[in-house]
């Protein structure tokens, strides 16, 4: 009995010190001088612009990764082809790779002397622009939808899909009426994870953005630039905004994954 309470106390105490107290403190520090300074800090033009950049990038990266994530998952589960194992490994790579390395890879590809540097000579700007930041975000948030959909596809099997096809349904009709309803919760969960990652991405975006204030700055980059510029109120206010998005994400994760509770 004592062992059980000790374990419970230890686990919860560790979580409190590592997670809850720090996150609670952000809220306290942001609002300790009242609501107005915090509100002013997130409504100034530079913060607003950073918020917009973050939303635009997520707005492009999340739908693309959802669409291609589902296609990738279907290709990985339903079809056998040479190099499937390799594709599987590449999908996982962004989970295990440092974001700075991802940023550098794009920097070298599109930068001076890079293979695709010709694009910028033709007026298509990738580095230090929204395009490059979006590419970095897509790279980083690529695995989530695939990883959630693959096990579900494997579990539901192909019986119903084959039945639909035998009854004369076209491939797309089968997908829309049979496959999609079966995987929709997994897709939803994957979308929540992808969105969280896309909004919070820092390292990769930091490298390819060039960190031009008020131009190529997302909300996480804004947090850093404000903190380094000794505007802690601004840094904390933007952090609270991001933390609120994170809390909504965690709730969304609960919503889409209701089966885990014992």
């Amino acid at each position: 009995m004592i062992a059980r309470y000790a374990l419970r106390l230890g686990a919860l105490g560790y979580l409190a010190l590592l997670l809850l107290v720090p996150v609670g403190l952000v809220f306290y520090r942001t609002f300790e001088h009242g609501f107005h300074p915090a509100w002013a800090a997130v409504t100034n033009p530079q913060a607003q612009h950073a918020l917009w950049m973050t939303l635009i990038i997520a707005g492009i990266a999340v739908p693309l990764n959802t669409l291609f994530g589902v296609v990738l998952a279907i290709a990985l589960v339903r079809h056998r082809f040479p190099g499937r194992g390799l594709v599987n490994a590449i999908v996982d790579l962004p989970l295990a790779l440092s974001p700075v390395v991802v940023g550098l890879a794009l920097y070298l590809l599109y930068g001076t002397g890079g293979w695709l540097n010709t694009l910028s000579q033709h007026g298509i700007k990738i580095l230090f622009s929204l395009t490059g930041m979006t590419l970095a975000t897509i790279f980083i948030s690529l695995p989530f939808v695939v990883r959630e959909v693959v096990p579900v596809l494997r579990e539901v099997g192909t019986d119903q899909e084959q039945a639909a096809e035998t009854l004369g349904a076209a491939a797309f009709t089968t997908f829309r009426r049979i496959t999609l309803p079966a995987i929709r919760w997994a897709v939803g969960y994957g979308v929540v994870l992808t969105t969280a990652r896309a909004i919070g991405e820092f390292g990769a975006v930091s490298v390819v953005s060039g960190r031009i204030e008020g131009k190529t700055e997302t909300l996480p980059l804004y947090v850093q630039s404000q903190f380094e510029g000794f505007n802690t109120t601004g840094a904390f206010a933007a952090s609270v905004l991001l933390a609120l998005i994170a809390l909504i994400t965690v709730l969304g994760m609960r919503l889409f994954r209701p089966t885990e509770e014992a």
Binding site: A11, L15, L19, R29, F68, L97, L106
Partner: protein, 263 residues
């Protein structure tokens, strides 16, 4: 699957093209750049005192954090599955917070709490302790979330049998539960290790980035890009890339091991 064949080829083609454009071509460019001036330059860049000190620190800190997570993560998963107390659902949800919270916010928060202005009077900023703390924060969910489902599905019959045969609680855990959890623990540990090796946002503020003391490889790479030494950045990046690939191979092996046990 006759009518699905054309669709299958299309899905495959799209999938491979997307992956190539987004992931493979940039990584190929990275590897190519790291070797553009020959293997000799590559090796010279990796073995520079500052670069190799950063690599050693990164690997050491990641190893420490991953090992620590093996213990705390398993304990937390155990409490969440086998124990019951009011507010358990909320605690369970909170575990995902480090996945959802932007890393730079995590770094800022930890610096505020355990830095020079912290309310507890503990100051670990710009020290290795601070670095480890930040890594513990971001890697917390990996082992918990890997162990939890396995523990949930674990048949209690074996444990009850062991206990009825006179095994103590410790012996039951060590001989029955632990071997069943081990593949999951190791997968979680491997993911946590990979994350700790590559982490940037959470450590960039609290570690202070002092060369030879608190500068990890990801921060070193960012510094080399800013001081316009892409060759140095690329060389260390390729080392990190190889570590990531190695970890993924290991996780694949653990997964294989687990499914073999299931059969």
């Amino acid at each position: 699957m006759v009518s699905g064949r054309a669709g299958g080829a299309l899905a495959r083609g799209i999938a491979v093209c997307y992956l190539s454009l987004i992931v493979l071509v940039p990584l190929a460019a990275l590897i190519w750049s790291s070797r553009a001036n020959g293997m000799h330059t590559f090796w010279a860049e990796v073995t520079k005192p500052e670069a190799s000190a950063a690599l050693k620190l990164t690997l050491g800190a990641a190893l420490l954090v991953a090992t620590f997570n093996a213990i705390t993560g398993t304990a937390i998963a155990w409490v969440l599955v086998r124990d019951s107390f009011p507010g358990k659902a909320a605690v369970n949800a909170v575990i995902d917070l480090p996945f959802a919270l932007p890393t730079i916010v995590a770094g800022l928060v930890l610096l505020e709490l355990y830095g020079p202005n912290g309310p507890f009077g503990v100051n670990v900023a710009f020290q290795r302790t601070g670095l480890v703390l930040a890594l513990l924060f971001v890697t917390l969910p990996f082992v918990v979330r890997a162990v939890q489902p396995v523990l949930l599905e674990l048949d209690r019959d074996m444990e009850e049998a062991a206990e009825s045969l006179g095994a103590g609680r410790m012996a039951t855990f060590r001989r029955i539960v632990f071997p069943n959890l081990l593949p999951a623990i190791l997968s979680g540990v491997a993911l946590a290790f990979a994350r700790a090796v590559g982490e940037f946002g959470a450590v960039v503020l609290i570690s202070g980035n002092v060369p030879f003391k608190t500068e990890v490889s990801s921060v070193y790479i960012a510094g080399q890009i800013e001081s316009d030494n892409p060759a140095g950045a690329a060389a260390v990046s390729v080392v990190l890339l190889l570590i990531s690939l190695g970890v993924l191979l290991l996780i694949g092996a653990f997964r294989h091991w687990r499914t073999r046990h299931d059969r």
